[in-house]
């Protein structure tokens, strides 16, 4: 089912690129950024969540360094609350594209007393994974971490640079960002600092889907309509799982849904959808009334939830 990426679909002769729905200069820009990251840093890594954006990053890296292997391992910060489909997919992608995979778990951070599990109805490991990530960066001595964040997702992300310098504590200081002029990226850092790199900053959700379609990139099955046990909470559809503390009146039922964004099972809500194929998904997004992160439970904690998490060292 997963087709290998590289030579699969050559849509880049001049005329064809014009006809394509995906603006290919965004891929040129991303590849330029990935090559700068490889050249400017000693130990760069790709932050891989199993979501569509980080899958696209992995495929862009394949294209940037072809026919050689990309000089980045994939780092997965595992909350332990994954959709099983995502993990299966991750292992197949790693095997077929030939990446090295490094996994660090929130459970291990809990066992070592670095973080404490949240309690109550809304307990999630979303905030805890920041600590696991920062510990991993320090342990593995990564000086650059490549992420799939996009500026159209969220208003704090709309403000972040492509090369986002973080201090020793991984913190983003919105008011002291370096000017970023033309395409001259400045990745010079002091020891202990690191840089988060966002090659697809300028892509929108629709750009990502059009690229996936035109380049025949495989995705985990949960992005497409399927039957699942769910329950309702706060106007959102939550996937039923042992990781969520349901109240007695939250009764699971079975229905057809898909996921528009994929975090772990405690922070990602489903949407009702019949879209079983890529074209259906794209049609659905074009007409959607709700934004992509409208189904992110982690963003709903406050108006400034993302900016606050970024200040704490989040992706």
């Amino acid at each position: 089912m997963m087709k290998n990426s590289i030579a699969a679909s050559p849509i880049f002769a001049d005329g064809q690129a014009q006809a394509a729905a995906f603006p290919y200069e965004l891929a040129d820009e991303a590849i330029y950024i990935l090559r700068e990251t490889a050249a400017q840093f000693e130990r760069p890594a790709i932050l891989f969540s199993g979501g569509k954006d980080s899958i696209v990053i992995a495929h862009l890296a394949m294209r940037a360094f072809a026919p050689a292997r990309p000089p980045f391992p994939l780092l997965h910060i595992d909350t332990g609350h994954n959709f099983p489909e995502t993990l299966t997919f991750r292992d197949r992608l790693v095997a077929e594209l030939g990446f090295d995979l490094i996994v660090r778990t929130v459970q291990d951070s809990i066992n070592r007393g670095r973080v404490r599990e949240e309690s109550g109805k809304y307990a999630s490991r979303n905030a805890l994974q920041t600590v696991t990530l920062l510990d991993a960066i320090e342990e593995l001595k990564y000086d650059a971490c490549i992420g799939g964040a996009r500026r159209d997702e969220e208003k704090a992300r709309a403000k972040e640079r492509v090369f986002s310098v973080r201090n020793e504590f991984g913190q983003w200081d919105a008011q002291r960002q370096r000017p970023e002029l033309f395409d001259m990226y400045n990745g010079r850092i002091a020891p202990g600092e690191n840089v988060r790199v966002f090659p697809i900053s300028n892509w929108t959700e629709l750009d990502v889907w059009n690229f996936i379609r035109e380049q025949h990139i495989a995705l985990p099955s949960i992005y497409f309509a399927h039957e699942r046990d769910v329950f309702d909470r706060d106007g959102l559809i939550w996937a039923d799982s042992p990781f969520i503390n349901k109240t007695p009146d939250e009764q699971p039922y079975r229905t057809v849904v898909r996921f528009r964004t994929v975090g772990d099972m405690t922070c990602t809500a489903a949407v009702r959808s019949d879209a079983t194929a890529l074209d259906d998904v794209i049609t659905e997004i074009r007409s959607a009334e709700i934004s992509e992160r409208g189904a992110r439970i982690d963003d709903k904690r406050s108006e400034a939830a993302m900016e606050k998490r970024k200040r704490d060292g989040y992706f």
Partner: protein, 414 residues
């Protein structure tokens, strides 16, 4: 599909964020949940209309103060093309963020509050747009609704703008004027019923036909970012030079000149996204293979063999300073031209520009944050840069502070 990159500029409260909100709203680029959220926030703030500026002011400090501090990037598309807007801050103290946002723009939209006319920030922002040589500038005279859509007032502002800035305007720059009310959406995406005297296109109509590609006559240039060597048995002899073409075109069979070696060779293969192609153009990220074995590494430059840039050990440049620590004579910096870095020493600070009066004063002691001047630099090794006015994509550089590592200034080769 192509992309048009736009930067908006203007003084505080000229209605930039509202104008962008209007473009997004009228092109149906804002999902309902985001609209509901700003509707609720507008009511909390006690305004009785949809405060579209809340769409882009994404930082806590910005919402607290009601101003834009840093560039926000905003996206929308029409059936014609995709748009990227850099919504840049209006405050003088955030000029450096404005320059950041404007550096990649193909169109600059400068807002003027019709009630205030041309103010100091108008001069500053237009001077920056001219310094960056943004090909197309649209001056949007906003808030016409507050002046009863006064035709004479608009004509006055246009006439004053043309007189005051004649000397600044590069010959190739396209300059348009537009009367608008972003609050009521007049002349943004729909013509205004209140300004029958304006028969020109709306803002969106101007953007739909604006030029998004660099002129084709530019000489071909590419800096090598990295050398690709698979080191496998099957691809033992593969040696590709990866980079993004900054101007012109390269085709298989072309003779090129490699700098700094000054060796001529021929292109045997070009790959883009891992597949072979015959020809590549400015903006394409490619891997190029050559006929001869030449010592090439990161920072080497490929160019057309009959139009190569000169090797410069000294640069005279227009500089815009972006750091709190001033630029001073005798200091050393790291100069980054494209992807190539070298040490540079500030040899002589020649003059400083008063952007409002448009006069240059000689021999300033320093260039402080947000100030613009002309300086000469001495370089530790040669740079293959063009004059910015001739080939902009190979004529700019940044100056990095050696100690703080921050990007402290931007320069344009004269």
């Amino acid at each position: 599909m192509d992309i048009l990159r736009i930067a908006t500029a203007g003084s505080v409260d000229d209605g930039k964020s509202t104008l962008i909100g209007r473009l997004l709203y009228d092109t149906r680029s804002v999902p309902k949940d985001k609209l509901d959220a700003i509707d609720a926030a507008s009511k909390r703030r006690g305004v009785d209309f949809l405060d579209l500026s809340l769409l882009t002011d994404g930082l806590i400090a910005e919402r607290e103060q009601g101003i834009t501090i840093d560039v926000a990037h905003v996206y929308f598309s029409t059936p014609t093309r995709k748009y990227i807007i850099a919504d840049t801050p209006g405050h003088f103290e955030y000029t450096r963020n404005m320059v950041t946002g404007a550096s990649t723009a193909e169109v600059s939209v400068i807002l003027i509050d019709a009630r205030n006319g041309i103010v100091e920030q108008t001069a500053r922002h237009y001077a920056i747009a001219c310094m960056l040589r943004i090909p197309h500038v649209i001056v949007c005279v906003n808030k016409m609704d507050l002046l009863s859509y006064d035709h004479a007032r608009f004509d006055n502002i246009v006439a004053q703008f043309r007189t005051q800035f004649t000397a600044l305007k590069p010959a190739a720059q396209r300059l348009d004027f537009l009367p608008a009310s972003s609050l009521h959406g007049e002349n943004v995406t729909r013509s205004s019923p209140h300004m029958p005297w304006y028969t020109g296109p709306t803002l969106l109509e101007m953007l739909e036909v604006a030029e998004s590609h660099q002129p084709r006559h530019f000489a071909a240039r590419m800096q090598v970012q990295t050398v690709i060597r698979p080191r496998t048995d099957a691809l033992h002899d593969f040696r590709g030079y990866a980079g993004r073409i900054s101007s012109g075109t390269f085709a298989v069979g072309d003779e090129i000149l490699v700098l700094p070696n000054e060796r001529r060779t021929r292109i045997t293969r070009i790959q883009r996204f891992g597949a072979d192609i015959e020809r590549a153009k400015a903006g394409d990220s490619v891997t190029i293979l050559l006929a001869d074995d030449i010592d090439i590494s990161r920072g080497s430059t490929f160019c057309t063999s009959d139009a190569a840039p000169d090797a410069r050990r000294e640069l005279r440049a227009r500089i815009c300073w972006l750091d709190r620590t001033p630029l001073e004579n005798g200091k050393t910096y790291v100069l980054q031209h494209g992807i190539q870095r070298m040490r540079a020493k500030l040899a002589h600070l020649e003059s400083i520009l008063d952007v409002v009066a448009q006069t240059e004063s000689a021999n300033p002691a320093a260039l402080k944050l947000n100030e613009i001047g002309i300086a000469s630099l001495r370089l530790a090794q040669p740079v293959y840069a063009d004059v910015y006015a001739d080939v902009p994509t190979n004529g700019a550089f940044i100056l990095i502070d050696e100690w703080s590592n921050t990007t402290a200034g931007v320069g344009f080769v004269l």
